[in-house]
């Protein structure tokens, strides 16, 4: 089943690629519409939009999912129920494709809900307590977004159909569109794990690694960004976009700091994904949807590759994910460390890898346009933090001394996993330049002072030096201050926001519901229905039994009594 799915998705990717090239060269856009019913002023249609953006995104999604399925043939080799995983992944890809090609809110809802549900099934795949908790967190956070989309569907019925793309130019300043834009932004924030909905993404690392590579790096979490890119014309002048800018920049900064204090390999990569999602949302809210889309695609490539390399390392280390037990692995797994290093350097924005094209463009646009000083500082600080945790990760995993037990079990000669990683490696190297030539027909003209242009290099060098220093702590290190319990627990636990949004929000209500349950459900409503009525009926039947099961004399006596009552009633 793995190979069949791989071939199908790879072939689908090739079709999408050819159509994408044809469409973008000729400026084509195809819109299929089937009218289901039309009454009064309401028309219900099923539509599919195929333009260069949807074809390109479908191509990337199908490439990553085909490679991940091929990878999971070897990674999940010992799994008895591998077919279940493959079917779930295929359903996930189907939901994603439905989301991508829909200009219609109902089919977006189908894809959106499908993504949320299937990601829940994938997170709880391993069925231990940690996975169950993580799955519940994921599903409930995504559910908030689903409710928002449902409410948008209700509100947009005011306009007569659910095809939102028809209404952008005409209804922009309408009150209804104001409400719709607010809800769409909330929905996108839940899916893309912005503050305050960011607790589910690190927790969802309880899923198997191929699932994390597909779902939590490139497809599910980018669905929110994609929705906002589609709705961009509507949202561009709204106040909520400024709120989104603020929240996404804070997300970027917060996750960058948390990744520096984290020691679980997959959680570091998850927080890195969160940081890049904040970057995408912030550049989108600054008014550059095409750059956000560009970064979405390049990020998908190198992040999926990074997760797959992490999977090889975890396999090798006997399922241990703690980087404190890894070290010096580049000597033993050269090809995997090659892929890991290239994806990490691409993440940092090292020149002429794929991440450089999108990240550098984003930072130059931020510097070139006159935005807030805080925006500017936090953007560059987060870029520096990205390089910081990347170099820290490379130092801990690749360069330091090996810290576990034996080294004879370190090998990466599994060619199924390696071949799938090489496909993504090829794309990580080339997709940046390839996409910049295709997407941007006219390059952005940017004029910057010399030092501002090199600011990225300065923060990258500073980040790399700090990353080197903080991972090389000896006996007499100076940076022990950063290890104090209060500071490190605050910063590594994402500023306690997951605690606030889970335990903090639900504690009062759960307490109150327990009081209600004890007093009403198990108290008064048992007396006045349920057990109470049962007791009454039972006691009455016991009472009546005295008359029925007794001797004949009492039965005759009641007979005579009844005659006396009738005589008195009728004749007196």
């Amino acid at each position: 089943m793995c190979f069949n799915s791989f071939f199908f998705l790879f072939f689908f990717m090739l079709i999408n690629f050819f159509f994408f090239v044809y469409f973008i060269m000729n400026g084509l856009s195809v819109f299929f519409e089937w009218e289901i019913i039309s009454f009064n002023s309401m028309s219900i249609v099923m539509s599919i939009l195929l333009d260069w953006m949807s074809l390109l995104f479908m191509m990337f999604v199908s490439l990553i999912s085909s490679v991940v399925i091929f990878y999971s043939k070897s990674y999940m080799n010992s799994e008895l129920n591998l077919n279940r995983l493959i079917i779930l992944v295929l359903m996930f890809v189907f939901s994603m494709v439905l989301l991508i090609i829909s200009p219609n809110l109902i089919s977006i809802l189908l894809g959106w809900d499908g993504l949320g549900l299937i990601s829940y099934c994938l997170v709880i795949y391993y069925q231990n307590l940690k996975s169950y908790n993580a799955g519940m967190l994921t599903a409930l956070s995504n559910r908030i977004g689903d409710v928002m989309i449902l409410m948008v569907i209700c509100w947009i019925m005011n306009y007569g159909s659910w095809n939102y793309i028809f209404y952008f130019d005409f209804m922009k300043n309408d009150y209804v569109m104001f409400i719709i834009s607010f809800m769409i932004i909330i929905a996108a924030m839940t899916k893309s794990a912005q503050i305050p909905f960011s607790s589910w993404l690190p927790a969802a690392m309880a899923a198997p690694t191929p699932v994390s590579a597909l779902v939590h790096s490139s497809t599910l979490v980018t669905a929110g960004v994609y929705l906002l890119i589609r709705f961009n014309y509507l949202l561009i002048d709204m106040f909520f976009f400024k709120v989104l800018l603020f929240l996404s920049i804070l997300t970027m900064f917060m996750s960058g700091i948390s990744a520096n204090y984290e020691f679980d390999l997959k959680k570091i990569i998850a927080l890195s994904t969160l940081s890049q999602l904040g970057l995408m949302m912030s550049i989108l809210s600054l008014g550059f949807p095409d750059i956000a889309f560009f970064h979405l695609l390049t990020h998908a490539m190198f992040k999926a590759l990074l997760f797959m390399c992490a999977g090889v390392i975890i396999h090798m280390m006997n399922d241990i994910q703690d980087i404190r037990y890894m070290g010096g692995l580049s000597l033993y797994i050269p090809l995997t460390s090659l892929c890991l290093n290239i994806s990490n350097l691409s993440l940092c924005g090292i020149p002429f890898l794929s991440g450089f094209y999108s990240k550098d463009l984003i930072l130059e646009m931020v510097s070139f346009n006159s935005f807030n000083l805080m925006v500017f500082i936090l953007f560059y600080l987060s870029t520096g933090l990205t390089v910081f945790y990347t170099f820290r990760l490379i130092m801990y995993v690749m360069i330091s001394d090996f810290n576990l037990m034996m080294i004879y079990n370190l090998y990466d000669e599994d060619y199924i996993m390696l071949n799938s990683m090489f496909v993504l490696l090829f794309m990580s190297l080339l997709s940046g330049s390839f996409l910049s030539w295709f997407i941007f027909f006219y390059p952005y003209m940017i004029y910057l002072p010399f030092n501002l242009k090199l600011m990225v290099i300065y923060v990258s060098i500073l980040g790399s030096i700090l990353g080197f220093m903080v991972s090389n702590m000896g006996i007499y290190s100076l940076n022990k201050l950063l290890l104090s319990y209060n500071l490190s627990s605050f910063l590594c636990l994402m500023w306690f926001m997951p605690n606030l949004s889970t335990y903090g929000l639900s504690y009062i209500y759960l307490n109150f519901s327990q009081i209600l349950f004890k007093n009403i459900d198990m108290g008064w409503s048992e007396i006045y229905s349920g057990k109470g009525i049962f007791n009454i009926l039972k006691n009455y039947s016991v009472f009546y039994n005295i008359y029925q099961m007794n001797n004949f004399k009492i039965y005759l006596f009641s007979f005579i009594l009844w005659f006396m009552i009738l005589f008195i009633f009728f004749f007196i």
């Binding site: 069925q127 231990n128 307590l129 204090y261 399922d319 994910q321 037990y325 702590m473 590594c492």
Partner: protein, 139 residues
């Protein structure tokens, strides 16, 4: 035992505390020589109070030490074996769920009728097993 501390002796409590303190040091430091350096210092601190005989002093020292360990615990404890539970255990605990065999006994007869040979053989095996248990061949 955490639920009945009065049933553990003082030396057991000290050993438990020592192990947790060592694990905390392993969580804070990564290089092996740095870990050993701090662990040797910790051992020295405990050895300074080795000759104390007063039980009240024992309890006071343990209380102070537990408090210090609590205030300096690592937010991300280290776990050496991914499939174990407890302080040595990690992310892969309880991943593979093994469904017990007695669940098959609860199948509906109509469901069992789909696999008659299997369930017939299963009944024979069960009888054989009970016979072997009664004869003492299986412990």
């Amino acid at each position: 035992m955490s639920f009945a501390p009065e049933l553990r002796s003082h030396s057991q409590k000290v050993c438990n505390f020592y192990k947790r303190a060592m694990r905390t040091l392993e969580a804070y430091h990564v290089a092996r020589y740095v870990i050993r350096y701090h662990q040797v210092i910790l051992r020295n601190e405990l050895d300074k109070n080795k000759a104390v005989c007063d039980p009240k002093e024992h309890r006071r020292l343990l209380r102070v030490a537990e408090n210090e360990l609590f205030m300096s615990q690592h937010p991300i404890p280290v776990a050496k074996f991914a499939r174990s539970v407890g302080i040595a255990g990690g992310v892969a605990y309880d991943r593979v769920q093994v469904i017990p065999d007695w669940v098959m006994d609860y199948w509906h007869p109509l469901e069992k009728a789909h696999y008659p040979e299997y369930f017939k053989r299963r009944e024979c095996r069960k009888c054989e097993y009970i016979k072997k248990w009664n004869d003492g061949e299986i412990r």
